[in-house]
Amino acid sequence: MTASSQPSAADLVGESDLTLAVEEVATCLGVDSLGENLFEVLVLAPRIQSLAEPGQFAQLLVDEGPVPLLRRPFSFSRSDPRSGMVSFYLAAVGQGSRRLSRLRPGDQLRMLGPLGRGFSLPETRGTSVVVAGGLGAAPFPLLMTRLLQGDERVVFVNGARRALELYPEERLPRGLSSLVVRTEDGSRGQAGRVTDGLLDLMKGADRVYACGPNAMLSALVEIWEETGPGVERPRLEVSIEAPMGCGFGTCLGCAIPLRLPSGDPAEGPLGLCCRQGPVLDGRELDWPRLLLQPSHLG
């Protein structure tokens, strides 16, 4: 069961940048029901809000009692510097998310954040293609708001199995250059997978940001491969999930399979999702192995 490659000490010594993570008792401002079992949970957490970058996450202590025991990681979905509010976009699927969806205004909960490595923001203006599969839309309202603040051209591909699982358009930031909506069953927008027609969009892009089920991300990376060689490929960043014990690099529970830097198909080292991720360069990940992992995104 031991991963075969001997890691270099440096891999394992890697330390999380936690100097900015704070524990804050957040106050629920409200929970917006977005149809079926999708919710946006809004909380007041001014300290964490002031530090949160797109793609980073917080660890939410759903219950002070011991069930569920562990905190749950959620990506910052929106963030409002004026009010000190951050929000989380989630599906009520299990113990933790269900309780979060039932918070009432005024309820308090502990949060640790911001944690992990977020998306890198452009240094010069250009075009970003942002691809969301279902719940994978969670981190993008905040990311796109920041991109747009930098005058980036933003194309958003909002995909899901069916209309009811789409991130609601009316909550998207204004100023998107283009919005592509795709549902697998055609119940809204174009029928098809979110990856359909992506190659053309990517070809013109400087950056691609994606989040969604691993199978979707893996397919997306393959499409991205087709953007080259010959031309300069867009930067590709994906946000992924792993079961997390702590969220801050201590439990070593959130191991994710990486590729050898050489690109060698041999089994690569393991990384920590909460430390090297949750946002990684799409090429760093060992997709075949990652597809064997459980994922709550599908």
Binding site: T2, P7, V67, P68, L70, T250, P269
Partner: protein, 308 residues
């Protein structure tokens, strides 16, 4: 604590010069090597840091997934991912040397020469306050061989005892018919104390997949509040059997929990899994224990001990 009007002796003497400023430490594998906590500012006030299990060579650990949640507990199968003793002794210890808290290195291995080599490498290194011999890791092959057999455990401890003069705790597995026989064997072989307990072998099943959630045999180590009553029984049994200090651990997440272990017979305790969901909780646990000590005019933590 200077301004409390308690005459409590807060320190805990684990023998061979290992004196902890207070009984509330943090457990191996739940606090890394302390560096995340250093950044988060949750180190000061700890009674001791017990590091992640450290082996001779670096280990990359087990394939994911490695953890799963159960009712009031968690399963882990990390597989002793660690950078190896060279990095620990050569780089980490330097940083610990300036910390106000004793750092005790948790040592793992697969045979006696392995353990001995790691312990020797750590001996005489500034910043290393003691050793905790992990003979109880359920997540590597042969990880439990030493811990489940009193004779083998005794031989291992004897060998290590001969190789280092560092204070030596032995961390016992509860996955045995009689933990006291292993405890007695390691006491006789020269251990300065025992830590009880490591995790319990458990499993979680994913019904849709018709298979365990974790890979391989599907087994992993159970920790957290669910195991507290089991760990307390183990500590109480060891207390009746042994003369050396006992470091109690298993599901501690509050002062009340820690006090339960002190009553059951522990000299010091470790906070484990709770560090994940309540980082910094050890300080609160200590605070609560001190308040209890004051309210009950304890002069030593031993006053708490159950005397049947």
């Amino acid at each position: 604590m200077a301004d409390r009007d308690v005459t409590l002796e807060c320190q805990v003497d684990l023998g061979r010069g290992l004196v902890l400023p207070n009984p509330i430490g943090v457990a191996s594998g739940t606090f890394g090597y302390g560096f995340e906590a250093e950044r988060m500012g949750t180190i000061s006030g700890l009674g001791a840091i017990y590091t992640k299990g450290t082996t001779l060579l670096p280990r990359s650990g087990n394939h994911p997934p490695r953890i799963a949640e159960t009712t009031a507990g968690m399963l882990n199968s990390i597989g002793l991912q660690n950078p190896g003793v060279a990095v620990v002794a050569g780089e980490y210890a330097k940083r610990w040397a300036s910390w106000p808290v004793p750092v005790i290195v948790n040592v793992a291995g697969s045979d006696i020469p392995d353990y001995v080599a790691v312990c020797q490498r750590l001996t005489g290194i500034e910043g290393v306050a003691g050793l905790e011999l992990n003979i109880s890791c359920p997540n590597i092959s042969h990880g439990l061989d030493f811990g489940t057999d009193p004779a083998q455990a005794g031989r291992l401890v004897e060998a290590v005892r001969g190789a280092t003069d560092l204070p030596l705790l032995v961390k016992l597995t509860p996955n045995v018919t009689d933990i006291t026989s292993v405890g007695r064997a390691v006491e006789a072989a020269g251990a300065d104390g025992v830590t009880a307990v490591n995790t319990y072998v458990g499993m979680k099943i994913a019904v849709p997949q018709r298979a365990p959630v974790l890979p391989g045999l599907g087994t992993a180590g159970l920790s957290g509040p669910a195991i507290k009553p089991l760990a307390l029984a183990a500590v109480a049994a060891l207390r009746r059997a042994l003369g050396i200090p006992i470091v109690g651990i298993g599901g501690i997440g509050s002062a009340e929990d820690a006090l339960e272990f002190l009553v059951a017979g522990a000299d010091a305790v470790q906070v484990g899994t709770a560090n994940f969901y309540r980082p910094g909780i050890a300080a609160e646990v200590l605070e609560g224990c001190l308040q209890f000590a004051q309210a009950n005019a304890l002069s030593s933590w031993r006053d708490l001990r159950w005397r049947p």
